[in-house]
Subunit: 346 residues, 4 copies
């Protein structure tokens, strides 16, 4: 059994890790880290886990953790993982960081968009960007994986094949994304109150959201050129789900079949990416609770653009599910172990 430690186990992403790993055949969670709830029973923080998890919450001691576990998940705010990791820890344990600390290769970009100094830039080069469908082989060999962001996972995978094959003009790419509210975390903040979110919708972080450079970097690798794009997130009154609607000019005249073939080239063998049938567009509910990315597209001959749409569950493929997928790869397990989650509808 792989021994697992979670730092930040009482946030929504951490709790989703617990939900998934509880049903994973090869793992045992031995450390439920949560600075806010030390010594409290985990199941008293998440009553859904009553009689399922008996453990109490522990502190964030990564050094001690490294002695006890095989893999550490850090589901914590930006900066924490970078401030704790060191050579000794990395020599003993694999780390999957759900924060943004090791996602961006250019440390100055990270520091500019996140507004904090990076505490351990020496590990950025080594860290593998854990978008499994794209970096699978590197993930298998990694000891430090930067688990992608929720918006970014959905945004990148939706456009990746077309960026890679040069089918779209990257300078015209616009991503309009919508997210359920669990993405905002479990902090007790006024804008996240039920009565503020329910029956309401808004854009936020316009032209300044931190997932922008992450998407630009990855799609830059795919397309082989520097990418600068608009990314606009929106808050939607639902718990889970991200929908990304993406617009770009096509670089050449293509048919539905041409584009479908390009998507199939990259995704036909991917368990967790479902390119839907012609004319059927993703809905977030169809992936809820699962690790799927649902994708489809529409060519608009009037404007010469293609509209791509992708959907994920932000807590699963957008966070905990992808983290477990990375863990499976890093430990040589079946990539889908623990992740054959059937979407729940309704």
């Amino acid at each position: 059994m792989i021994k697992v430690g979670i730092i930040g186990s009482t946030g929504y992403a951490g709790a989703e890790l617990v939900r998934i790993l509880t049903a994973h055949k090869e793992t045992e969670i031995v450390w439920y880290g949560s600075r806010s709830y030390i010594d409290q029973k985990y199941a008293s923080v998440y009553q859904n886990m009553f009689q399922i998890v008996d453990a109490v919450c522990m502190d964030d001691n990564m050094e001690e953790l490294a002695e006890q576990v095989d893999v550490i998940f850090t589901a914590t705010p930006q900066g924490l993982c970078a401030s704790l990791v060191n050579d000794e820890i990395l020599s003993k344990v694999k780390i999957i960081d759900l924060s943004a600390d090791f996602r961006i290769k250019d440390v100055s970009v990270y520091e500019k968009w996140y507004g904090i100094g990076h505490k351990s830039p020496q590990y950025i080069e080594e860290a593998v960007y854990g978008l499994c469908e794209i970096n699978r082989e590197d993930v298998k060999k990694a000891r430090l994986v930067a688990n992608p962001g929720c918006y970014t996972t959905c945004s990148i995978l939706t456009a990746y094949p077309l960026a890679k094959e040069g089918l779209i003009d990257m300078s015209t790419l616009i991503i309009d994304a919508k997210s359920g509210t669990s993405g905002a975390g479990r902090g007790a903040k006024l804008p996240n109150l039920f009565c503020e979110v329910n029956e309401n919708m808004k854009a936020y972080g316009i032209a300044t959201h931190r997932h922008t450079p992450e998407i630009e970097e990855q799609l830059g690798y795919a397309s082989g050129e520097k990418v600068v794009l608009n990314f606009t997130p929106h808050l939607v009154p639902m718990n889970r789900g991200i929908l990304a609607t993406e617009y770009a000019k096509l670089t050449r005249d293509v048919t539905y079949e041409d584009v479908k073939a390009v998507y199939d080239k990259y995704y036909a063998d991917e368990t967790f990416v479902r390119v839907l049938e012609k004319g059927v567009f993703p809905e977030t509910k169809w992936v809820e609770g699962s690790n799927y990315v649902d994708i489809n597209f529409q060519i608009d001959p009037r404007t010469g653009r293609i509209i791509m749409v992708g959907a994920i569950d932000n807590l699963v493929k957008g966070a905990a599910g992808q983290a477990v997928q990375n863990m499976n790869l890093m430990f040589g397990l079946d990539e889908t172990e623990g992740l054959k989650l059937v979407p729940m509808f309704p």
Copy 2:
């Protein structure tokens, strides 16, 4: 592998059967019955099942089905199962009926509350009321199981130990229940439209709801007396979940510990019944997607009443999950196979 046929696989309860059985290790669904969608791909009716279920929908031919499968689930409106079942079918196949046709032993009560004639009253006696925690041994031997209703499962299990042990005055029992909207089914009816249900709440079927006699009959067996009670269902703007708040006069002076001991006597060894810790009351979200029943109670010394609260996911323990639990018992499998579903939160 147990071969399964589902009649009514495209209603919400039927779809939940598909979700659960898809992940069940000992079963294979070979017949997706759906009168409304014959010859259409199941995954086009429930797109969450895309690339998971490849089958097309079939008709309701129970005779042919009996040749092909080991167990039939009927997730259909009242009257259908009773109109199809016969000796030959029952000799070949086990039946788990999710409708009300075989739940009520007194056929005149059934006919009065449901307003239809019963087409095969000769099987009522034989049918076992499939509330697993109470009738486990009978279920194991049954060939025809009447799967309990959603409100009834929650209402009965919440009060059962106290009724059985004579702790409450059954003539004072009042059940005020609240349900998510999936209980209303997938029929395209105006009152179930999003804009009619959302931001709204109402009582319905006051003093006339069909689950009333079912609760009365079962709690009558438990208490050893004829039970007549008030049951009021309410519609709540959420997809899943039933919460039952139950009120009764205590028959004697008891402490928290006394009552807790009574609940523990019946439920301490039950996997799917969780009597919560003192002062912690059920919330529907804590059981969502799972087969759990969460229960707790509060003694009110001012009024001499006890208030009991129970919560289930109406589609799981209130329908498909319990049906699978019954199947597991009927086929000698581990009762929890396919049902170790961790509640999803948020």
Copy 3:
């Protein structure tokens, strides 16, 4: 123009006062009190009021306020109004207190249920319980009105005629109430986060909720006997609305017409109480945004009980609307001025 000051204008009830008074023909709000947002523009706290309210928030200085306004609304936590009010203030200004400070005549009951000492018990006797339909004449003469609670307004008005006429056995009365989440206020607390409330339902304050003694006292006056009852509130995933389902034994054999006549005796001339037509039961959405109380009942001959159902908008008839109704009465205005709000559906 009546000059109005609001202490606590940035809570949800305070904001609803602003919404209603903004459209009231005889009033002008001159003081937007809010300890948390002093010197900030009111419209920056509630952006819906942009270009409608230009004022900035002020502190809670009741003495100064008394110099400037004709009536003060206190929409603040328990204890504040009682700690500020004094003879001089009451000699200058009318006060409508939306907190519980002056609702309960027996100060020991207040102190026991609220867990705080009462700072000015000398005004309790004088204060008029502002349930307009019942205490209209006293309200007209009052200088200090205790505006009823949200649950209590709905619970009392739903049962009042039957209690008054002795049609129900008060010792059997049980009130099962459900509320939207705005009743929990705008405080940034974890249990009120969108993801905790949405798709969830729970009971809370079972046998201990503070509105219990208020309901008992008022229905005690109505029935002429000491009333002890069970009141159970529930939290529902919607912004606004309270639904109260009430159960009691009938004291004598009555028909629908008998009971309807009793309701009509008290409510036929009441603008804001609508006893619905036979068989039509209240839904919270039908009163949303309005000052209506919708009521209906069902006799259950099987159990000898009557089930009464009432619905209000908790922020209007349950708080701000009723407060304005009280103000209208106190100042000799048309009781419905500013309150002819048509319910918004959907």
Copy 4:
């Protein structure tokens, strides 16, 4: 008093007309048309109107209606108004058509996008497109007004000043719009059921939605060039509200102040258009129940684009409110009569 007839009074837009006109000082509704509910009490179809509206529903007889009323609102599916209107009717009564029949000047465009033949193209020229802020003077003189669509109202007004002043490259304009579910109407259709919409989000009508040519035509007039754009609507789990996020390349280097000045040039004196303060972006809840359009923008120097965001209540400014605003203009009333609706929050 202006006598009003409504054809299609029991759809959501029709019901909103009733809500608004009920509180309008200069009008009296004398005809509640509803083919589906003829002879039924209007308040039994919309129980919120109990004791407010006593009338029964009538048929769609426009000829008879023209004898009885001063203005007819048609809140009906496409094609109905065009099939009923004739010279005699237009000589007797003013018509405000909430359908698309007279919105598009090029009948071939209408017939192509709507897939039906136009029954009275001879009135298209005369009909005034009732976007009051833009065509106010023409509306005043009109006898036939084409009330704009919900998405179109929001989409056009959000971009109008910049299109008019040549600040944006119209060939790059992309509109990503999100709507609450009341926009889908009150028809009992499976995709609009609560359990299908709740906790779900999707794009629909991608590159084919019928509001596209309407937006293109109007922004074409504004910019003085032929406009072809992408418009993508999305369905959001809320009752009311449209949010439009619009992207375009700036045609020249501009500052925040430059753009703000352009918006102010067109909207500073408009009661119902609120250009929010710098950095504050529209939320649909801030306009709920009101006739406001809230707008703001963000310049992105990285991409050279401007992102504009607009929000309306789809049933008010997007339908009934704007229709009443048009009526006010046509009859020489105060343009805001009946429309000083304060947004309801929460």
